[in-house]
């Protein structure tokens, strides 16, 4: 596609509910990132995939957070037993890897998760 697509755009979850957030990266982009942006803050790194391999998950805040990208394209971020502190905008970004660096990141519009 022309850009990074995220769905749903908004999600309201009751505390304790499981949620799944989807990211469709730009076609052919090898790298995919998830970020969490709390209200009034800058985005913070969660996890990184290169193709289907999850190379860095150091930013996931707890074992309730899980991400996958089984076929190296679409990715899903799953949050189990949601808590109020999980309320944030979840941003997905993708990038193509060039031989000597990269040409930057393209971000999706994000999913705004509100846990009530």
């Amino acid at each position: 596609g022309a850009g990074v697509s995220q769905s749903p755009r908004y999600k309201v979850a009751k505390r304790g509910q499981d949620v799944a957030l989807r990211c469709d990266p730009i076609s052919g982009h090898v790298s995919l990132f998830w970020y969490q942006q709390a209200l009034g803050q800058g985005p913070e790194f969660l996890t990184y995939f290169q193709n289907e391999a999850q190379l860095d998950k150091s930013g996931l805040p707890s074992d309730r957070f899980f991400a996958e990208r089984p076929e190296g394209s679409v990715s899903t971020l799953k949050i189990q037993r949601t808590q109020q502190e999980d309320s944030a905008v979840y941003l997905c970004a993708s990038s193509s890897n060039l031989g000597q660096g990269f040409d930057g990141y393209t971000f999706g519009s994000g999913t705004r998760l509100t846990v009530v």
């Binding site: 790298s31 990132f33 803050q41 660096g101």
Partner: protein, 115 residues
């Protein structure tokens, strides 16, 4: 560890006035530097990036930034702002390696343009 400091959380300016949004970073290795803009309820849009070469980088919407290695700064400037520039601006850094690396963002600067 890398970190990014945006020195001003809010910057109010009048329309058609110049503006500078300040950004300092800390890193012990070569870096890539970025400025993103975020309009309300939208994702991040890339304004400009520094990967290598000329330290003065020109971006979209009339913005430019200058990479200063000795001062570890990457300040964003625009000579004349418009109402439509009202948004949140984020400076970000990643270590310069082959391939994509994670971004570390600053806390953001809210630019408000007054008529």
């Amino acid at each position: 560890a890398q970190s990014v400091t945006q020195l001003d959380s809010q910057v109010p300016v009048f329309e058609e006035a110049p503006v500078e949004l300040r950004c300092n970073y800390s890193s012990s290795v070569s870096v890539y530097l970025f400025w993103y803009v975020q309009y309300p309820n939208q994702g991040l849009q890339l304004l400009l990036k520094y990967l290598s070469g000329s330290t003065l980088v020109k971006g979209i919407n009339g913005f430019e930034a200058e990479f200063n290695k000795s001062q570890t700064s990457f300040h964003l400037r625009k000579p004349s702002v418009h109402i439509s520039d009202t948004a949140e601006y984020f400076c970000a850094v990643s270590e310069g390696h082959q391939g994509a690396q994670k971004l570390v963002f600053g806390q953001g600067t809210r630019l408000t343009i007054n008529p």
